[in-house]
Amino acid sequence: MIRRQDSIIITTLTRLLTPFIQLFGLYVIMHGHSSPGGGFQGGVILGAGFILLAISFGIDEAKQRFSEGLIAVFSSAGVFIFAGIGLLCLFLGANYLDYGILPVVEPRSLGMLGVEIGIGITVMAVMISIFRDLLTFE
């Protein structure tokens, strides 16, 4: 069981670090197009940021912050974005996941971006969820 750390150094440091970790995670998701990275990698970094918070502030507080329902909503929302983009292509008259039909500039590139964001959300939520489940099981 992980409890809140009493050390002020740890709590302050994690508080300072977390925004940067999350920013980096977002960067990795967004720049999956032109540099190594993408939804999975970025999602894991985002999730790791939250897990770091949970470790230093104790599981009880973390449990309050990320309720089970919220995590479930997030993780299914991520896949839903992915599958929904595919379905949108279907409704617009092309094959499933054929981004070429989307009504935006450079549709394939943007379609991929949307997909990556969806993946990122799911991976983040699932990482937190597995961590939380493993910890809180008695």
């Binding site: 999956g32 197009h33 032109s34 540099s35 190594p36 993408g38 089970e68 995590i71 479930a72 993780s75 299914s76 991520g78 896949v79 992915f82 599958a83 595919g86 499933y96 996941l97 981004y99 450079e106 394939r108 590139s109 379609g111 991929m112 997909v115 990556e116 969806g118 993946i119 799911t122 991976v123 939520a125 699932v126 969820s129 597995i130 489940d133 493993l134 809180t136 099981f137 008695e138």
Partner: protein, 89 residues
Amino acid sequence: MILTLATGLFLIYGAMDMPKWGDPESPASVNVSPRYIEKAFEETAVPNMVTAVLADYRGYDTLGETTVIFAAGICCLLILKRRKKEEAT
């Protein structure tokens, strides 16, 4: 142990016939993938070919993979959710 060794020997037996490491002429690099390398940027406007193949050419695999992650999350939830009745025993 014997089974493991047998498996390993079988694998090595197969590996003898494989193309050399780093050979640009190996079938794997000649047959399908050149199209990804040569056309991906043109067709999708994404410079990272891995992303292009991942999210577009083989996008459906990636959907499956995201589903796997999602499944893992829900499975953990399902397996570990507290059961009052059983915990008592």
